[in-house]
Symmetry: C2
Subunit: 339 residues, 2 copies
DNA sequence: TTGAAAGCGATACCAG
DNA sequence: CTGGTATCGCTTTCAA
């Protein structure tokens, strides 16, 4: 059972390989009869074009690479899924790599991707990428689009969620519910995304004449654990009496950690304290109470990234910000009347 | 800035392309000096071998494909991660595709993968795969290993978790805690994996002389919602008095759904009822109380799959079952003394 | 409408 | 130890 090539098909159909290639690609004009015969031969031989050979000639691999910090993170998994779907629809394959935001891994994988001569690269990874990474990118001439993180001075298209707006909306949701004492939980402020969220938060307060209080900003660590600790710290700093009436957790994981702590302490959400998250990870709707949160338009992000990447436009430094959306569930409510 | 090829390097180093190829691949013997010169040229020109061309010649793409039902499912994301890591360590790329267990998608993607001439395929998808899929697989001669699902009569290696054993261990954990009335929540019994879990459960009961009670088997639907509904149904069928003292939920999602329902009903876990899950998804440790569960050796699965796939062994119909492990957290405890 | 032939960029055999 | 050359499987002029 040797591999069947385009020549086998050609022979079978009594034509030349060139002609077969033409019907395969829909290029050139072929008479309906020959075309039929060729299609038949393809079927009979179960011929499968060798994309490797085709890629070598056409300089097109029908593959894109996706660099994410960690595919295990639900957000990136969802992003990957969106890219995948779009890719499959266009008969493209997606190569995925988790980099853990480790420069070394990023560079190694980038190197591999470049050797594979991918048609494009979607980068959804660290803002701490080494200069090395950009140099390589630049001199390699691959098509690249950055996604999810707004990185300043990137000479490529950036597609991201408008976290400033998202935070603004989240905060405003709380304010409209009647909250005036609102704490914010954030991941480290070294992250641009954290800063953006803080900015949106502050702006919303300002817009509603609520004064911004430094003591209500809690930031440290990542993930659920951090949320738990931040809640703990908040409780320790303020007596249960002077607790804010609401918290804006800048990630759902933070929110879930806090929620867990409140559970343990018998603090009812949303009766005693409202809690709004950010990201709308799958878990958000599974916790109890289901978390009000801000959903990023993940699918949109993935789709757009793919489309821009494979579009005919020259890729330039443009930033596209997609609007997030507040998803109201049950962890936010009006504050209790002053007791 | 035209692409630099092996010929450019050769010219620059004053040798032939053949020689460059040799140092690139470590084949043949080259004098240290020429080797040095060539390496220098590679550096200076920032030459990146074209894997496409190489693959065409060598019939080796350094890429493997991974077919999963949904990368968005934490279990498969973890699996993908394990494969990725192993791949990166071997300088392989991983193409990932979520099929949603839809035969059409599976076949389309398989077709794409075959055209890409991948070195191997890891299939972690539906047991309901069409015959078509297998036919294609078989006549295409790709190396394939199945992972996670034990599919009968597959002429390829299967690497999976021993769910029979896992369920046995989970159930035994409950029994050793002192439980005698144990319910089991399952996904539909049309799934082989559900059947296996039920079998392990029954066997553990039997081993401890506990009689198996049909009325304590609840099965329907998938995911958190199903867990919630199953718990609801159980409560409806049995008064709060005659509730079993423990539940073995055959997936964490089921367990989490149940947990949520119990929260709402004010039923304390584990004081009133113990709950053990299965899978050890990330969420398991984040819920409250953190879920005792059975962890699949996901990383091991992924690693082994990759190694077997790229090993030199001819691939035959062998099934490797890896042992799962009970992770004891806080959702299980001894039953309350009879009140 | 069809086909001959020249590559795409690398590898491998075999000669020197 | 090094290099010429055929070749991997397909695409693409260009001529017929």
């Amino acid at each position: 059972m040797p591999k069947v090539t385009i020549y086998d098909v050609a022979k079978r159909a009594g034509v030349s390989a060139a002609t077969v290639s033409k019907v395969l690609n829909g290029t050139g004009r072929i008479s309906p009869e020959t075309s039929q015969r060729i299609r038949a031969a393809i079927e009979e031989l179960r011929y499968r074009p060798n994309l490797i050979a085709s890629a070598l000639k056409k300089h097109q691999t029908f593959s894109v690479g996706l660099l994410v910090p960690d595919i295990t993170n639900p957000f990136y998994a969802a992003l990957a899924r969106a890219v995948e779907d779009q890719a499959l629809a266009h008969n493209y394959a997606v190569l995925i790599c988790s980099t853990d935001n480790i420069a070394e891994r990023e560079e190694k994988q980038l190197e591999l991707f470049l050797r594979q001569r991918l048609d494009g690269l979607i980068v959804a990874t660290s803002e701490a990428m080494g200069q090395e990474f950009f140099n390589t990118l630049h001199q390699s001439q691959v098509r690249v689009v950055f996604i999810d993180r707004v990185i300043p001075n990137v000479p490529y298209p950036v597609i991201a969620t408008d976290h400033y707006l998202g935070s603004y909306l989240a905060t405003e949701h709380l304010i409209e519910l009647g909250h005036r004492e609102i704490a914010i939980f954030l991941e480290p402020l070294t992250l641009r995304s954290s800063l953006e969220r803080l900015r949106g938060f502050a702006k919303a307060l300002e817009a509603h004449q609520i004064k911004f209080d430094d003591h209500l900003v809690f930031s440290e660590g990542f993930g659920v654990e951090a949320g738990y600790e931040l809640a703990q710290r908040m409780l320790a700093q303020k007596g249960p009496q002077e607790l804010p009436t609401a918290i804006f957790a800048a990630t759902d994981q933070l929110a879930i950690g806090a929620l867990q702590y409140f559970h343990e302490k018998g603090i009812n959400v949303p009766d005693q304290i409202s809690l709004i998250g950010y990201d709308d990870i799958q878990m958000a709707k599974m916790v109890s109470p289901p978390l009000t949160t801000v959903a990023q338009p993940i699918t949109e992000l993935g789709h757009q990234a793919f489309e821009v990447l494979l579009g005919t436009q020259a890729l330039s430094a443009t930033t596209t910000l997609l609007p997030p959306r507040v998803i109201i569930r049950s962890s936010t409510a009006a504050p209790l009347p002053q007791s």
